[in-house]
């Protein structure tokens, strides 16, 4: 049975369609990341799934019910973390969770959920005195406290430092290990790559890709060469086909190629002329970020056509 079923969902604000004829299903227990640039419609879809917004057209079922008309029993099965933190700063983390836990018929014990989100050591601290990452994990703990069958996370780690993000991810992973379904929106490709079983990419209110992170990478185009390049003289002498891939701001050569043998041949010849060691050379499939940018129509690296390599300029 699907935890979420969305068919031909549309949400228009006046003439502007923020979400345009979107359909997808989320099976129980799956963690789905909804990716997309600002204005793609991620939060609008999530707000409709949560029952805060009414669709203009289409149908939504979450845990078998229309979210707009889900009663208390339905609400008890749904957890959510809103885009912005909405906590009372005067309460401690433990007090906050103790307030929410009795609302649910089968909640986690407060100590258990504090452990799940790695906040045991800060349980007695006022929310207002916690760091941004810790407050976000209190938010996550509130979303989890009712032992939800489905959890909606709206950009749960936006603005957090890398360590705080990792800890938040740990909390989400702990929840999914209990079998809960999770739908999260994020700007961070690595977050989707790390957490998600499946990635839905939105652009302009429509789904442009709905696949696994591995398959999304495969859709990202040909293999890519990455090589850090700090010698300006050598960079100036790059073969024309490779020179297009030199990024002066990052001092890196990033080239996608459909003919890797020829591209590598040019690169090795150029490196030998300049006595450069290619020990830091990386060759691999496109990153998820590159695949994502390709999916939304913004290629990150120039792709060298095969003929440019097989017939290099003299």
């Amino acid at each position: 049975m699907s935890a979420v079923s969305v068919e031909h969902l549309t949400k228009a604000f006046g003439q502007f369609a923020a979400v345009d004829d979107v359909s997808f299903e989320v099976p129980e227990g799956q963690l789905v990341a909804v990716l997309g640039p600002n204005g793609a419609g991620k939060t609008t879809i999530l707000e409709m799934l949560e029952g805060f917004l009414a669709p203009t057209a289409g149908t939504i079922r979450v845990l078998g019910a229309d979210p707009r008309h889900g009663g208390r029993a339905w609400r008890a099965r749904v957890g959510l973390v809103l885009q912005s933190t909405s906590l009372d700063p005067e309460l401690t983390a433990r007090d906050t969770l103790s307030l929410y836990a009795p609302l649910y018929p089968r909640p986690w014990r407060v100590d258990e959920v504090l452990e799940l989100v790695d906040l045991t050591a800060d349980a007695g601290t006022r929310v207002g005195a916690l760091s941004g990452g810790q407050r976000r994990r209190v938010d996550l703990a509130i979303g989890m406290i009712g032992r939800p069958d489905i959890l909606f996370l709206d950009e749960p780690t936006t603005g957090l430092d890398p360590e705080a993000r990792r800890r938040t991810w740990g909390g989400v992973e702990n929840l999914t290990s209990t079998g809960s379904t999770v739908v999260l929106t994020t700007h961070y490709i690595d977050e989707a790559d790390h957490l998600a079983d499946r990635v839905i990419v939105l652009a302009g209110g429509r789904i442009v890709t709905d696949t696994t992170p591995r398959e999304l990478r495969a859709q990202g185009g040909p293999a890519t060469i990455r090589y850090p390049l700090t010698d300006p003289a050598a960079a100036a002498d790059l073969p024309p086909a490779l020179a297009e891939g030199f990024d002066q701001s990052s001092h890196a050569l990033v080239v996608s190629s459909t003919n890797m043998t020829a591209t590598l041949g040019q690169l090795v010849g150029w490196a030998e002329r300049h006595h450069l060691d290619l020990a830091r050379l990386e060759i691999g499939p496109p990153t998820l970020e590159e695949a994502y940018l390709t999916a939304i129509g913004e290629p990150l690296t120039p792709e060298i056509p095969a003929h440019a390599l097989t017939h290099p300029a003299p």
Partner: protein, 240 residues
Amino acid sequence: MPASGLLLAAQIRYQVRLLLANGRTVAIRIGLPVILLVTSGISHGHASAAAVASPATFGLTLAAWNAGGVRLVAAREAGVLKRWRATPLPRWCYFLGRIIATLAVGALAGAVTVAVGVCFYHVPLTAGAALVILLAFVLGAAAWAASATALTSAIPTVEAANVILILIYFPVLIVSGLLGSISEPHWLTTLASYLPVRPLADAVTSALRHATGTPLFPVHDLLTLAVGAPVNPASRRWAR
């Protein structure tokens, strides 16, 4: 599902705790009326019933108006209401808990002022009068909190709430004669008698004078407050 009564009790405790959590606001709500009493209402170590009733009314209405108005808009703007709406807590439970907590804190603000008058400035107080004052406080706080709560549906931001609510609050206090006696024009004093300030102050004054022969139960004043007390739960913007 958990029983609604238990959830309501938890909400009341939570809201009271929030209202009393900030030392500065507690000092303003409870300390300022006492300061007003001490600085302007004392003569030869004694305070009149009216001199106690006015600052007590001021403290109570300030607390109820602020809690029912500005704090509610702030909670809505910060997403707190949305967060609660996402839980299985019935909406009525949240708002009733909030309003009862507001009544309790508003009544406390008024009660402290009366207690200071009784304990330090020889204002007589009988047990019956104390009960009537408590009833007046509850009805007065309910009227103010309900009015502020109803207004918040038309107030978009906290900044606007601070301005709009102050622009309403102080003129109502002034025309009601709480900050200085007003006898003209007649229509204004008539209007003031139906706003929830004059009846509250008069009910408290009347009860405090009970020991000197004034009737204990100021029926007209309490009825006026009771009419203003019903809560307006119609606003959809609360949970925006």
